[in-house]
């Protein structure tokens, strides 16, 4: 379970995140929508412990991130817009390294099973990542998340630049992980993906969570209207 309590972040005079209250249950997929600078990535970065909150608390399975950063890292996996991997290592070597950092050691067969689940072609496993497409890197990122046995998944624009087929594969995997009880917080600009994949959708603007919707209670057209009316609010 993920929880934000009055989570606030200031960068100098700029209020990047303004008293965010949010709870994401186990197995729930929560999509954060918003224009650039709305506070989506800042929220994720605080949960990952990359930046400290100015005030408020971020909790992962009831552990406060700022106090138990080392412990909470064991619980999370992170897939950014571009999954950055070591280009001179193979996909399998990257997977072994990142799962090793998380404290897991797997056999080749076990790692191949993760990449297979993530949809990566077996023949790509031993190729250097420098030859991978963005979609293939994304799949390695998913395999890493699977290998880390994460309880919480943070996705920052994960489908940006992926072709529809790859996006669809990605959505299926997230749904499967959700079924296994993984809490997911996804920042995205893709309204259709948010509608189809998320259980709940939050629309952020200028650091504040302006609206919260259940995806099954809103149509795509209505979501689009609400999104546009929120992000077009005057400063």
């Amino acid at each position: 379970m993920l929880k934000a309590e009055q989570l606030t972040k200031r960068f100098g005079d700029h209020l990047a995140l303004d008293h965010l209250d949010l709870t994401i249950e186990s197995g729930e997929v929560y999509c954060l929508l918003g224009s650039n600078g709305a506070g989506k990535s800042t929220t994720i970065n605080i949960f990952l412990g990359f930046i400290p909150a100015s005030s408020g608390r971020a909790l992962i399975d009831d552990l406060e991130v700022s106090v138990n950063n080392h412990a909470t890292r064991n619980l999370v996996a992170y897939i950014p817009e571009v999954v950055n991997l070591y280009p001179t290592l193979t996909g399998l070597e990257n997977l072994a390294f990142f799962s090793g950092l998380a404290g897991f050691r797997y056999s080749r067969a076990e790692m191949a099973a993760f990449t297979d689940t993530a949809g990566l072609q077996p023949e790509a496993l031993d190729k250097r990542v420098s030859s991978y497409s963005k979609g293939m890197r994304q799949k390695v990122g998913i395999a890493i998340a699977l290998a880390k046995q994460a309880r919480a998944l943070f996705l920052d624009e994960p489908t940006s630049g992926l072709d529809p087929h790859a996006s669809n594969e990605f959505a299926q995997i997230i749904t499967r992980l959700s079924g296994q009880g993984v809490s997911t917080l996804m920042a995205t600009h893709d309204l259709l993906m948010a509608k189809n994949l998320g259980h709940r959708i939050g629309i952020m603007h200028q650091g504040r969570l302006q609206q919260e919707l259940r995806s099954d209670a809103v149509s795509y057209a209505e979501l689009t209207d609400r999104y546009l009316s929120t992000v077009n609010q005057p400063v």
Partner: protein
Amino acid sequence: MLRLIIQKELREIGRTGKMGWLLTGVAVLVALALYNGYAYYTDHSALLRESQRVTYEQFISQGDKNPHLGAHFGFYAYKPTADLALVDNGIEDYTGTSFYLEPHQRGVVKFREVSDATALRSFGFLNISYFAQFILPLFIFLLSHNVFAKEWENGTIKMVLSARVMARQLFAGKLLACWLLVLAVVAVLSLVPLVLLLARAEAGSLGRVLPAYGCYVLGLLAYALLLTIIGVATSLLTRNSSLALVALTGFWLLGVFLVPRLAGELARRVQPAITSVAFDDETFHDKQYGVGKQGTKDQRRDALADSVMAKYGVRRLEDLPVFFIPITIEFFEESDGRVMDRAYGAIEHNEARQNRLVLASALLSPFLAFRDFSMHLTATDMNTHHDFTQRAEAHRRRIGVIVDDFYQKNTVAGNDFWRTVPQFAYAAPGLGWRLGNAAPAIGILLLWLLGALGLMTLAYRRMRV
């Protein structure tokens, strides 16, 4: 965790094409440095040993002669090539190796290797020490400059720090990976000379050589470690491989080229060397009147004659039971010796002050500190050179006393007498003396090591996405 990070780093380094070229270049230079050092050591040590033997053989087989004239035939005292000259030949090319042993004249060390060398010698002599002082730092910086920066440039740092690895584990893993490669180069630099030393060392000399060499290797390890820490910490602090490379190579250029030259220039200006004209003028005057202004040479000779005649209870020099001329020679040898000791002492004092100024600049350049440490430990430094000249001068005076004592009672000396004149032999002092001379440089290297550890702590505390 550490093993995982080290393995990953080594794998990445191994797969980087430019690193392959770099390691090949380093291997070639190491091989050249080893060959050059060994060739220098074997050629010079054999040549000097043979020269020492030949000139002495000629001296003791010169036949029947007036003892004083025979003494003027003289022979050379050669400074043997330092045991560790295959590692570092220090200032030996510039100070010369031979000291002529003859009456009246304190020898001047001659045969400076550099005087016969081409202009190419101004680039330095590639041996192990040169490699360690100038090329090894560059290798370390090229190896380590992007070890952290690439994580930011590739964007992998977020993936890494979202795992449960701790900052200090990550730093230690990357540092150890670089250190293992540096250690491999240092191991080759250290072990091959050790094998050569063991193979070539004369009986009994290993006891003197090995402890000094062991300390040299320890110093080399500390020096390489501090440079590796500086390289890795700079990579982390800059988070940009180009910036890190510019910073590290700038530090290298300053430390290797600029600081030593500025320090040398400053030392020359602050503590100017005594010119040869002033030296000759002063010693000529002092030889005429003695160190304590005891009067002209004629006055002192008359006073000596009076005291010798009084000692033997005679009124005329012709009545002395011994020849007076050798007594005069011995008297003025002692008097002139005091003059020259004082004059050379002043030069050495001046050089020591210049050296202290230059060594102080090592606070800005660890390369200078290691150079000083290396020369002291290998006994190719100015202290050893002075020790050699003092012992050679003492030997020259000892020969003077032997010849003059003989001359007081004999006007002709044959080979039987010449063979009683002892051969000169020199061995540089042992480890304690060398470490004593190197103590300031060791202190500065330790300060640099502490500074590098401080930089490391600062860097890993700032490890943020």
